[in-house]
Symmetry: C2
Subunit: 124 residues, 2 copies
């Protein structure tokens, strides 16, 4: 893959964690479905902003990976937004096929049980 | 605030970072708008699953905070899903007012410039 450099005005906005990463939420651009969450360092974001495809940094494999290169399930970038404090990105994409390596459309296919308190707490 | 304990079957699913945290994406349940991203440890997730309101762990202040306690902009939990590898949560909420401390509805109000390559790269 090519290397890419992040413009300094964007790099200055990023609030990276101890490993130099920010969280990247991937959302289907037309249905607004949240598909997955990945991690980006400066170069992964620079590639994502210029290559038309989403590149992540894999924390477990310690390498760059471009979604779809092995699976064919490419993510084509439509827009990228950064949040107010610079530690998260919202990447809107056209997702080809399943976003999840399990074959599910989204990685968030497991619901946890939510129990409401029986008495409503007063608002602050 | 109350303390809460996470059920072991959920605790076993979590893949926490070095600080014991997972990322929590907050999405408006009916419009599917992505509002913000916060961080949760086991207790913040336990509270979120049982109190009907979203509780985060603040990395900068190193304390729990329940969205809306000072701003009135409460997040009422509708569902919580965990992703396939356990390091991210998708929390669908009814957001009262603005999710962002800036007063914006969403924290992702700053778009970054995306430039497409002039030649389409071949698929893998």
């Amino acid at each position: 893959m090519s290397s890419a450099t992040l413009p300094s005005d964007i790099a200055d906005r990023l609030k990276r964690d101890e490993n130099g990463l920010v969280a990247a939420i991937i959302q289907q651009h037309d249905t607004d479905e949240v598909l997955m969450l990945g991690w980006m360092d400066d170069e992964a974001l620079a590639r994502t902003l210029t290559e038309g495809r989403v590149t992540f940094w894999s924390r477990s494999r310690a390498e760059y990976w471009r979604k779809g290169d092995t699976s064919g399930h490419e993510q084509h970038v439509r827009s990228v937004a950064i949040d107010c404090d610079g530690d998260a990105l919202l990447v809107r994409v056209e997702q080809i096929g399943a976003a999840c390596h399990t074959g599910n459309r989204t990685c968030f296919f497991t619901d946890l049980s939510v129990t409401e308190p029986s008495v409503t707490e007063p608002s602050a």
